[in-house]
């Protein structure tokens, strides 16, 4: 680091030290006054008077500082961020999504990001923020107001790393109880699911929150390792060429016959079956045997609808 000249301006240093302190959050009066209690001028100048001079200076320059219950708060920044109407809408979207998060690291981080952006907004941006109705032209449907509390509760379970016993309604309309490890909340199109790992059956299950009837937290801690069966399937013809692998899938590319062998792990098995059914005759399951049989059973049951 280059050596700095020994000549500097004390008032300038004090002004910026004061501002730096304020930008870190609410500051106690005693910490503020300490900056202005100069040993060299002790007895000659009153630190309270000096502080008032600096506060006046900042006010003239447009910086707003509020004192409440012996603490100083900086209400705007000397360094501005300018955003337009669309940016404000996006910021608002993030705020709304953050409301769904339970108390914890992620929520704390997002709230602090929002705060540090908002405090830096330029006057013109603040004016936009005030005048615009933040909900106009934006689709907040993902907020899922009706299951907001349930989302928070499940996010909390995911953070706690304790096993769960869940009673839920399956797609067949039957009630099922599973013992599982919660993994994450998954936001799908128009649906929110709790993704869990059922270790005893080596599978991942995505349970729509609306289908959960009861959750009981068990005293056992979850294991970090996800235990789930690997499914291998083959895609043929046009689909083999066009298929885009999911994040949880891998493949070595097309084989000599132009088929694509896909190795799938960690996908809800019922959802995978429905997805592979969609691909029709251009898809066959290679392994494991039980999953191949499940697919055949599904095809047979569907064909059964058309007998007689």
């Amino acid at each position: 680091m280059p050596r700095l000249s020994s000549k500097y301006n004390d008032s300038c240093i004090k002004m910026f030290e004061f501002l730096k302190l304020l930008t870190q959050g609410p500051v106690d009066f005693k910490d503020v006054i300490e900056i202005f209690s100069d040993e060299k001028t002790a007895g000659k100048s009153n630190p309270h008077v000096t502080l008032n001079k600096y506060l006046n200076t900042l006010k003239i320059l447009g910086l707003k500082i509020k004192k409440k219950q012996n603490k100083y708060y900086l209400l705007n920044f000397p360094y501005k961020i300018s955003l337009d109407t669309n940016d404000i809408k996006s910021l608002s979207l993030i705020k709304q999504a953050s409301e769904l998060l339970p108390k914890g690291k992620t929520k704390k981080n997002i709230d602090s990001i929002i705060k540090s952006i908002e405090i830096r907004l330029s006057e013109s941006t603040q004016a936009i923020e005030k005048t615009m109705s933040t909900t106009e032209n934006i689709d907040y449907s993902f907020i899922h107001d009706e299951i907001k509390d349930q989302i928070k509760r499940c996010e909390h379970f995911c953070q706690e790393h304790q096993k769960l016993e869940i009673l839920y309604t399956t797609i067949k309309g039957e009630q099922e109880t599973i013992k599982c490890s919660p993994i994450e909340i998954k936001y799908e199109k128009r649906k929110v699911c709790l993704t869990v790992n059922v270790q005893s059956q080596s599978k991942i299950v995505d349970i729509p929150l609306e289908q959960i009837l009861k959750i009981k937290q068990l005293p056992n801690a979850t294991t970090q390792q996800i235990v789930s069966t690997t499914i291998v399937y083959k895609l043929k013809n046009r689909l083999a060429k066009n298929y885009k692998l999911r994040a949880w899938e891998r493949s070595d590319g097309l084989d000599s016959n132009g088929n694509l062998i896909v190795i799938n792990k960690n996908e809800d098995q019922d959802q995978l079956l429905a997805r592979l059914m969609r691909y029709g005759e251009e898809c066959t399951i290679e392994s494991p045997k039980f999953f191949k049989e499940k697919m055949l059973e599904l095809i047979n049951q569907t064909l059964e609808n058309y007998k007689n």
């Binding site: 000249s5 000549k7 500097y8 301006n9 300038c12 240093i13 004090k14 002004m15 910026f16 030290e17 730096k20 001079k53 600096y54 006046n56 200076t57 900042l58 003239i60 000397p78 360094y79 961020i81 669309n86 940016d87 809408k89 996006s90 979207l93 993030i94 999504a97 953050s98 769904l100 998060l101 992620t106 981080n109 997002i110 990001i113 993902f142 067949k172 309309g173 909340i185 936001y187 799908e188 199109k189 729509p208 046009r238 060429k241 066009n242 885009k244 999911r246 429905a274 969609r278 029709g280 005759e281 066959t284 055949l296 095809i299 047979n300 049951q301 569907t302 064909l303 609808n305 058309y306």
Partner: protein
């Protein structure tokens, strides 16, 4: 102070005059590179300052700003030394953990907003990352973006065409027939299985279809006059148990035409039988196709071929 706000006149013993000048200099050097002469001119014309500063005082201010954490760049522009602040202690900065939290929220949101709002959200995050010294946020967004690999200009154009329901000719890289021009009456852009599709009526087969946006190479022409094609639609009826109906989302081209205590009959107005068949296949035994007979026969034949696929080997 009250007097200042009334008269706009500074009472100098009530403010820190030096601190005032330091903050003004900070603001000036943040805006753009300034020479000593330019700073002097500004101070001279400032309503409260009305005086120059010496070059030595100027240097002392520069040193002081450096001491409080400002990084100041000095460069020769048109043979004049100019100073600017390249970084300062009030900059927005995000920790790696905060960036990961922001990406988590981004992922939560993206599944449920339309493509227009998604583009705006990405632009917003890009703008915020432009205020950061490091490019961690930019990189994190690039790696996690649902639009990774897409040409955003093409997407923006397509959004506008879909809004106007424009008829366009696009260059498309078809996996089967290679590059070709396709004329389409645009309808909407939608994500399906993390892939962005353009929906619309293709003129080649006069059928409503979907096209992968990642395969659109360019938009060659926007037709001034739309020629609305007559698309053949098929009414497809299927029966579904009510307990299963609760688990599926009916599309805009579907309606329940009959409901009993146990089951419902849903009718689809289909303009693309391939897409309708895919959808009904995914329902498996939950649904039974009732009509038309040709569609039902084709559906059964597909199921038999699927079954045969497991015995061929």
């Amino acid at each position: 102070m009250k007097e200042y706000f009334k008269t706009n006149t500074v009472t100098y013993n009530l403010i820190s005059f030096t601190g005032f000048k330091a903050l003004i200099l900070f603001t000036l050097l943040m805006e753009s590179p300034k020479s000593y002469e330019e700073v002097c001119d500004f101070f001279l014309n400032h309503p409260h300052l009305k005086e120059k500063i010496s070059i030595d005082t100027f240097r002392v201010y520069i040193t002081s700003l450096k001491r409080v954490g400002c990084e100041i760049k000095r460069e020769r522009i048109n043979k004049v030394s100019k100073y600017s602040i390249v970084s300062q202690p009030f900059e927005l900065s995000l920790s790696e953990e905060q960036i990961q939290s922001l990406i988590k929220i981004y992922k939560n949101i993206t599944k449920n907003i339309d493509i227009k709002d998604l583009l705006l959200l990405e632009k917003f995050i890009e703008k915020i990352s432009s205020y950061l010294k490091e490019d961690n946020l930019k990189k994190a967004l690039e790696n996690n973006s649902i639009l990774k690999g897409y040409n955003k200009t093409i997407i923006e154009d397509l959004i506008s065409y879909c809004d106007n329901k424009d008829q366009i000719i696009m260059r498309y890289n078809s996996p089967n027939s290679g590059e070709k021009d396709i004329e389409i009456l645009t309808d909407k852009l939608e994500f399906n299985n993390n892939k962005l599709y353009l929906h619309g009526t293709g003129f080649e087969y006069m059928e409503y279809g979907t096209f992968l946006v990642s395969r659109i190479l360019e938009i060659k022409e926007v037709k001034e006059v739309r020629t609305i094609p007559t698309i053949k639609s098929t009414k497809i009826g299927y029966k579904i148990e009510n307990c299963n109906l609760a688990h599926i989302q009916l599309d805009s081209n579907e309606k329940i035409i009959q409901k009993t205590k146990d089951y419902s009959i849903v009718e689809i107005t289909s303009t693309n039988d391939f897409l309708t068949r895919q959808k009904l296949l995914s329902y498996g035994p939950m649904c039974k196709i009732l009509y038309p007979e040709s569609f039902q026969k084709d559906f059964i034949s597909r199921l038999e071929k699927m079954k045969a696929g497991y015995f061929d080997a």
